[in-house]
């Protein structure tokens, strides 16, 4: 069954990871307050998470437990917090190409077609035209969008938009891919397809992924480890290892079992309600 690691000592749970390699991304003792005139929310309370190279980490938790907040800190979108966020040995000071983000809403540029959207990061970096073409062709093929490379964003379906975002993120060859509920707005069928696609993309390029989702089954299908968060204040409750063969499908029994284990942890997060807002 699931090997359950303590919040404090990640990495111990994995038999294969006997000697802990240097984490690619280390979030140490992160606390984040949101202060508005009406309330003071402790969105994250002393959260520590270490992500190893080539690891696929899923974060689950009820709405408002600070998943997006944590991802924004890792991305460098949010730099106002207590604690330490270190990426490849250096503190995170702002957004950077090495940490690509796939947002929940399709954050594509409407004035560019699919190809130009995917090319965007490469162009900023000054990659020569011929090379850009090659990379974009490869990424579009990887996410099955080659036929739509000249389409504008409003001509795409929701699933296609998310695939285009994924291709755009992958094109810059990020060292970590941060994904915030990228499939949340999609129907079940499209979601299953994209989960399979993401698994195969990940298997091929082996980048590190931090993936936020509400969907427990999705987390178990995709993740090497599933981080369960609890709300009010946002904390990491458990980190559950998923030592299953890939590719995994929603119908695997082992997936269902582990999903049940994760769900059990999630059910208990609401058991001891604390006041959400200090006034």
């Amino acid at each position: 069954m699931a090997l359950i690691a303590d919040t404090g000592r990640q990495g111990g749970g994995r038999a294969s990871a006997a000697s802990d390699p240097e984490p690619l991304l280390a979030l140490r003792h992160i606390s984040k307050h949101f202060r508005t005139s009406r309330q003071d929310t402790l969105a994250l309370d002393d959260v520590t998470l270490k992500v190893r190279p080539r690891e696929f980490i899923c974060i689950v938790g009820p709405s408002g437990c600070g998943k997006s907040t944590l991802l924004n800190i890792a991305a460098g979108i949010d730099t106002d917090y207590q604690g330490e966020a270190v990426f490849e040995g250096a503190p995170i000071r702002g957004m950077a190409q090495q940490r690509a983000v796939v947002f929940q809403e399709p954050a594509l540029f409407p004035w560019l077609n699919v190809r130009d959207n995917v090319e965007f990061g490469l162009k900023l970096r000054g990659v020569p035209k011929e090379q850009r073409r090659e990379i974009v062709d490869r990424q579009l093929a990887l996410v099955n969008l080659s036929r739509f490379d000249r389409a504008y964003i409003h001509e795409l379906s929701g699933g296609m938009k998310q695939r285009a975002q994924l291709a755009r993120g992958l094109a810059v060859e990020p060292h970590v891919l941060l994904m915030d509920e990228p499939f949340a707005a999609l129907d079940a069928q499209t979601r299953d397809d994209l989960q399979l696609e993401l698994q195969s993309v990940w298997a091929r390029i082996g980048t590190t992924v931090l993936f936020v989702t509400h969907n427990v089954r999705e987390a178990v299908i995709l993740g090497d480890r599933v981080v369960v968060m609890s709300p009010s204040p946002g904390r990491i409750k458990k980190i559950i290892d998923i030592p299953l063969e890939r590719p995994r499908t929603p119908d695997d029994h082992a997936v269902a079992d582990l999903a049940a284990a994760v769900r059990y942890e999630l059910q208990n997060v609401g058991a001891e309600p604390e006041p959400r807002y200090a006034i």
Binding site: F120, K123, L124, E155
Partner: protein, 264 residues
């Protein structure tokens, strides 16, 4: 959607037929009213006479000279107002202080019909070319400023973040995200600015003694030449429609193709 522009479909053919039919009917009715002489031909000329006047005044160069003079003023005034409007718009969008102060002034002045600047312009610049360009400028600057401000403010923060995580520097963010994102709003503002500029130019030229389409209208009135007045009005309409369709129509189609109907 894109292919329909290349091959005129049956539907576009029918649409064209309807439009042409309508204008033929209007001219026929006009011609009939002219011939029956319901009103005096000195007040309501027949289309034949108007077209004859149009031909004469094209042939003797009056219309072309007037057109050239008017367009020159319009282009100079419009280009300056674009630069000024963009600067004002970007400034009020970027700075809270500028928005609270200059922003309010811009909103106030935009509600002022631009021809009301004419007396002031004459006092400041005399009966000169500068005065009339000033009036044109005042017609379009504030529309462009307001749309530039709205366009920049309307940029979804999500797109800024997306660009940032793709490695955009501050300058690249402006060049590759902020400016293109402003286009739909700018097209609307520039179209409105153009129509204000065109109107105030015609009004200004009418009240002013110098070469120009508006002035030709006044010449026609002084000569009691109703045919000429009608002919010049037709030219003014034609210029307005042509710019609107050719320039802004294309810009709007460009926007619609990219943003979809949401932005149209």
């Amino acid at each position: 959607m894109r292919s329909s522009r290349l091959i005129p479909s049956r539907e576009t053919g029918l649409k064209l037929l309807r439009i042409v039919g309508f204008y033929v009917a209007v001219i026929a009715l006009w011609s009939l009213l002219g011939r029956v002489e319901v009103w005096s031909p000195f007040l309501f000329p027949s289309p034949e006479k108007v077209f004859a006047s149009l031909r004469t005044n094209f042939a003797n160069g009056l219309i072309l000279d007037g057109l050239q003079a008017s367009m020159q003023r319009l282009v100079v005034g419009y280009v300056i107002s674009f630069v000024l409007g963009m600067a004002l718009g970007l400034l009020t969008a970027a700075s809270k202080f500028a928005n609270e102060t200059i922003g309010g002034v811009v909103l106030g002045l935009q509600s002022l019909p631009s021809i009301t600047w004419l007396p002031l312009a004459v006092l400041w610049f005399g009966l000169s070319e500068t005065a009339i360009i000033f009036v044109v400028l005042m017609g379009s600057t504030f529309s462009i400023a307001i749309s530039a401000r709205a366009g920049m403010r309307g940029l979804p923060p999500l797109l800024t973040r997306a660009a940032g995580t793709l490695g955009a520097t501050r300058w690249q963010l402006y060049r590759y995200v902020v400016l293109p994102a402003m286009v739909p709003s700018m097209v609307q503002g520039m179209k409105q600015g153009w129509s204000f500029a065109w109107r105030s130019l015609m009004a200004g030229e009418l009240l002013f003694v110098s070469v120009g389409l508006g002035h030709l209208l006044d010449v026609g009135r002084n000569l009691n030449n109703i045919n000429m007045v009608f002919a010049i009005m037709l030219v003014i309409i034609a210029v307005g429609v042509a710019v609107d369709r050719l320039l802004f129509g294309r810009a709007e189609a460009w926007v619609r193709e990219r943003w979809g109907f949401a932005a149209a």
